[in-house]
Symmetry: C2
Subunit: 555 residues, 2 copies
């Protein structure tokens, strides 16, 4: 198994249900569907935070958001936090990055520890443990106060090399169209979402990164197995896509919105605040959904076509036989469901993601084309990849669990009872609206697959509760229903037990601890001993200074 490579593909903001294999009625994704038919599709995979940065830092460390602490976009991952790359390299597998991580380097921490950012160690610390073949986070907008992301953009450099003349072709070409008068129609304004992006399809982000991926695999050193994290920015907003994808879907293809008027009657204060924010209000409007969603579908269709191109190339070159392929996303997109836009909260369309794993090994033959409804957390991928690399999962560091048993048709004897996700909204305007302190601007999801509870640390906020069987649309909040107090108590007990979990004892493995047991006595620490006769004779003689005589006399 250790000789296989891993192609770890992540899309950004791809909803779990926007694939035809997951039941979408008007969006056809035959290439991703085909991978699902060759592997296992996990139907209950939750991300550990419904926001890019925190979710990814969890996936790349195998640890919950509150364990690694990088709980929102732009919060640096603390120096020294162990990553997927650290674990894989320790097991003889390289770990490369092509695309987005949303990693913010802990430069202060690195300086404090004297780590040169230009050294190999420093570069890996700054790139979340990856060897960055290409690092491109895919968000290169600018405004009156400058660039959102001050790093140089490899994608913009590519576009310039292809003859795009704008200062910032990401902003003016890849993510903008043309208005009737020929002027720039920015994709940031959703009314332009039905226009074709101002770019050749072959130069758009998804196609570019796919070409880079093929090129990377072609040139990868054959001797060392690798994990390549191919991490697309799309179908993340701005909602705009190049031709022909801009015209494939229209308002008729948009699925009915999943919301109910009753959701807005005396709602939970956190839910109320989030669905009333700027993007929530925008997605209340049908015209916004009718423009944005067809573009979102077009972006996904393009992703699927590029997967088709990539898989065909892997097939042709025989690489499908030695390459594990994983497809997932970092969170979903409300798209107007539940009166919300964006992500942030924990309804399935936000916190649940697609997860397909294709394992070419013979052990996985029995499960090809099946679905698995076990409760999966995306941090399980770290553990899975470590096992695929031939390693043992360091459970004192990695909080996820390997999915390999499921891939090989063995249900683990003991599996998690609940999945957890967390959200830290201290930076968002919703904190001020809700009037909570920075350190209390936190939300938690706990689900056992049957029920789902959202807890807010905001004072007096209480819980939301959904019955996932009788209300799969999550439209009825039972958080204050006296009839469901027992379910809430049960899920809260899970949350509290999780909150007390051992998660920072990262310098001592179970084996280390076992090795420490009982050792001090034979090294002269005697506790609770009154008299020499109570201990082994050699110990006593040691403490009487007679060990040397014993040595001389051969005793």
């Amino acid at each position: 198994m250790a000789t296989k490579n891993i192609l770890f593909i992540m899309f950004d903001q791809l909803r779990w249900d926007y694939l035809s294999c997951a039941g979408h009625k008007t969006l056809h994704t035959p290439h991703i569907d085909r991978l699902a038919s060759q592997g296992v599709r996990f139907t209950k995979c939750y991300v550990q935070s419904p926001v890019c940065g925190a979710s990814r830092m969890s996936t790349y460390t195998g640890r919950y958001s509150s364990s690694h602490g990088a709980q929102w976009n732009g919060y640096p991952l603390r120096v020294g936090e162990m990553t997927l790359g650290d674990h894989l390299r320790a097991n003889g597998m390289d770990c490369f990055l092509l695309g987005k991580t949303h990693m913010k380097a802990d430069l202060e921490g690195m300086a404090r520890l004297g780590i040169d950012p230009d050294s190999k160690i420093g570069r890996r610390q700054a790139e979340c443990g990856f060897d960055a073949h290409i690092r491109d986070d895919g968000l290169w907008p600018e405004g009156p106060e400058g660039f959102y992301d001050p790093k140089p953009s490899p994608y913009n450099a590519y576009l310039k090399s292809k003859g795009y003349q704008e200062d910032n072709p990401w902003n003016m070409n890849a993510n903008a169209g043309r208005d009737e008068d020929g002027s720039i129609a920015s994709g940031w304004f959703m009314r332009h979402a039905d226009k074709p992006a101002n770019i050749r399809e072959e130069d758009s982000e998804t196609t570019w990164l796919t070409s880079e991926t093929i090129d990377f695999i072609q040139n990868a050193a054959p001797d060392t197995p690798w994990c390549a994290h191919v991490s697309y920015i799309k179908p993340h907003w701005p909602y705009i896509v190049p031709a022909p994808y801009h015209a494939l879907y229209g308002p008729d293809d948009v699925q009915p919105v999943n919301r109910s008027d009753s959701e807005r009657v005396d709602p939970h204060p956190v839910y109320k605040t989030f669905h009333s924010n700027l993007i929530g209000r925008a997605f209340h409007r049908q015209e916004v959904r009718d423009k944005a969603i067809p573009a979102y579908m077009g972006l996904i269709k393009q992703c699927d076509d590029q997967m088709g191109r990539l898989f065909a190339w892997l097939e042709e070159t025989g690489r499908m036989k030695d390459t594990v392929i994983v497809i997932t996303s970092d969170h979903g997109d409300y798209l107007g469901d539940h009166w919300m836009g964006e992500k942030d909260l924990f309804h399935d369309c936000s916190a649940k993601v697609p997860l397909i794993i294709y394992d070419p090994s013979a052990e996985a033959d029995a499960t090809r084309g099946t679905t698995c409804d076990a409760l999966v957390e995306q941090i399980d991928l770290t553990a899975t990849f470590i096992e695929m690399a031939g390693g043992e999962v360091p459970s004192h560091i990695v909080e996820g669990r390997s999915l390999l048993p499921f891939l090989h048709g063995h249900k683990p004897e003991e599996w998690r009872e609940v999945a957890i996700s967390e959200y830290d909204y201290a930076v968002t305007p919703m904190r001020a609206t809700l009037g909570v302190r920075d350190q209390d601007a936190r939300l938690y999801m706990v689900t056992d697959g049957r029920w789902k509870l959202m807890h807010s640390e905001g004072p007096g906020h209480g819980a939301m509760l959904f019955d996932l069987v009788n209300d799969p649309g999550e439209l009825t909040d039972l958080g204050r229903d006296p009839a469901h107090a027992a379910e809430r108590a049960r899920l809260y007990a899970h949350l509290h037990r999780w909150a007390l979990r051992m998660n920072q004892r990262v310098t001592r493995s179970a084996a280390d601890i076992a090795g420490m047991r009982g050792r001090s006595r034979r090294r002269g620490i005697l506790l609770g001993v009154y008299d020499e006769h109570e201990v082994e004779d050699d110990l006593t003689r040691h403490l009487q200074g007679k060990a040397k005589e014993d040595f001389v006399s051969g005793r």
Copy 2:
């Protein structure tokens, strides 16, 4: 305030109530009492773990045991964890060590980050952030399998320089007496506790470290304020003390044991296991208490005399005027109370410690000689020292709170409602006896000063509960009493809220987060915008590529 120095004195295993100022009836500690009369004595100071290593790592980082993860003796403090030394140096104060820390370096982590253990950064990482003037953990026993602590012992080197001939004079002189026949009577056997240690009093550990302290202060660079952590091993076992201290106290001076037969009737399984262990059983015996406790008192008396010597020297040299003096301990010692020996659990004699702070500044005049009964955690010292150095407490890292307001007679508007302590017993034999898994071998104390609850993560263990007002001896466990369900629920709610605390978001301060708010919009991230008219004109023009024209036209 920033120009003052801090003498941060810690004794090891000193019970809160073994000082005459705290009410001990037969042990007189006039020098420590005098410091209390010049400063504030805190009557409810709890350590964050009742075991040396974990307690100290909390005190030296200002963070709970489960936050820093070094949860037992010999668990390395993870590389990069911020320490008192880091915080003080950032505020222009040096931070030195003389004596014990029980720090285990995270050598693996340092190697992973390329940190040379011999560099200045590496040495501080290995010494818990201190500049080690002398590092001596004070436990140098050996047995058939070698030394308990493989490091070189400065104290043993000192003894050899003074003519002690044994290979390991710590074991054979400082912590052993002579039997009737002249052979070594090891202090590890408690029946020898009434013998004088085989050493001149002036060469014993407590006296040696005091001399080193005076020498250090005398030679400290005058330009930079310093914090010196003077950290004695005593009165920690082995229970043996040099003349004349071995003969000052006898069985008649031993205070009545605080235990009750009812404690052993159907006890909490964790409590039962701990009080039935080897050292617990030893301290059930009156002969053990009659030997060990007078020696323990003698060790404390010697500590007090050495404090007298140190304070007199500070007085003479005028240093009392510019030196803050703190006296505390890392945990207590059961000494047979509650049928227990050692520490480990959370009865006051184990988890509560002495804390006296003398602040020479005029602001502290109003509180001299007073006691303070606020709920204090020892992690508060880190915060206090940072404020004394003139710094602002980085509350995203340091979980303790400054005690300066109490010293200056201002009660903070808001203070903690509960104190927390934790204990990880995975390495101890009690884990196997109780049959719990490594990761579940954890105990928590939560007290509001009125009630105290102990929670065990072991399955089905339940809680212990004590009424500190009506049962100050903590002899009646109300953990299963139906009449006290509400108190347990209330303390559990506190524990759970604490468990969910924000404790790893260490790379972003409150100010950093405030600075991030609302920044992305002016850098071109527009969410929930349908139409150009919905945003500021300059933003729109930016997104239309007209900003350059504006610049040229001077718009």
